[in-house]
Symmetry: C2
Subunit: 206 residues, 2 copies
DNA sequence: CAAAATATGGAGGTCATCTCCACTTGTCAA
DNA sequence: TTGACAAGTGGAGATGACCTCCATATTTTG
């Protein structure tokens, strides 16, 4: 899957240079404030080369974070294999927040790409979602977690955390969200709060 | 606060025309796909006029949703006055989702503006946050809700819901998030899941 | 009604994005 | 090694969105 086309030596070199510089700029947080053309010059290649390797900003972001996301997913599988399902889920979500905290670039990237609705980053995004889905499913099967609120909700909460990365008390609030999600999930009993919430009195708002 | 400058008659008329067309385009969902210049023509005014009234896309969005957000906030106060704190909070959050569902434009707008970090929409955003903060505070005072997870976390979850507005099962997942948040908040006892989650094994990811 | 104040609109400037192709570099068979 | 073909390069310039500017038009005021 990774070996579709053997890249020529210099092409490979340029690609790496691009990625290296991109990582640098990402961690500095200035990726989205930078002219894409200037970025090419910055990495020491022509704009044409930049565009051939990465047709869009999003494609570059995807490439940059492909590795990190893969690592995150591996970690999820590893946790799942060594911990009780519920703890694995908790550890993963907490770890996710810690990771975003340490790599602000990722949070901002995810937020921007999500909102842009670019559909790019699809690969990584789907991979992450799959990991979460598996973790939740396992916890549900264990009976440790309610079954009436899919993993999608957890993903939404995660998106929210990423999207709000520039709030003043980000870390504390992010941890708070995870706490709410985890405790909310644990409440598998007395499903009283779920039923009945169609339209309510929204209409009257006019 | 609203009467800083008496607008000339025709200016007022143009402003209304702009806002009216904007609402229309918003609800059709195409606001962010439309050239700003074309929008002026669409509303029947020159680009200069558009820019004089609304210097940026965000300013226009802010103006369009100013009324709606105000209504939402009123509703929050009203609920707070007539329902037990916990129910008021629940009703408000559920209503919020319902409102976004009915007005897709709002969800997309909030998402985009949040991610753009434009800082615009600040007024409405702060107003909403204040409303949520009040609702949560009241519920905490009632003892119906834990006090170790500020309203900021709830806002983050709300952002997440808005940011993910284009997911396939949006409505169901959004309701799920609210359910988790509410149930998570109710768990005011046995605060076992909060402590101890600093760095964990994030370092090992490397 | 004339003058002063206020607002209009769209032509054109500016700037980031992306394309295109004449040229360079790498690869490989003989 | 060398020649020749494939693969890749880079940057000038086309494209198109955003915004400004000002000669003209419309309201308001005295």
């Amino acid at each position: 899957m990774t070996a579709a086309k053997p890249l020529r030596a210099d092409a490979q070199r340029n690609r790496e240079a691009l990625l290296a510089k991109a990582r640098e700029v990402f961690d500095a947080g200035g990726f989205f404030d930078l002219r894409f053309d200037d970025f090419a010059r910055l990495a020491g290649v022509g704009t044409g080369t930049l565009y051939r390797h990465f047709p869009t900003r999003e494609a570059l972001a995807e490439a940059v974070y492909h590795g990190e996301v893969a690592a995150l997913c591996d970690r999820a599988r590893q946790l799942q294999a060594t911990l009780p399902a519920e703890e694995a889920l908790a550890a993963f979500l907490r770890g996710m927040v810690g990771y975003m905290d340490a790599h602000q670039g990722l949070a901002r990237t995810l937020a921007t790409l999500m909102a842009t609705g670019s559909g790019a980053l699809a690969e990584g995004s789907r991979a992450l979602e799959q990991a979460v889905t598996d973790l939740v499913a396992a916890a549900v099967k264990d009976g440790a977690v309610r079954d009436d609120v899919g993993a999608g909700a957890v993903m939404m909460a995660l998106h929210g955390i990423g999207a709000a990365h520039d709030r003043p008390g980000w870390r504390a609030e992010a941890d708070g969200v995870i706490t709410l999600v985890l405790d909310g999930l644990r409440r598998s009993c007395s499903g009283d709060s779920q039923r009945e919430h169609e339209q309510e009195s929204v209409g009257e708002l006019k």
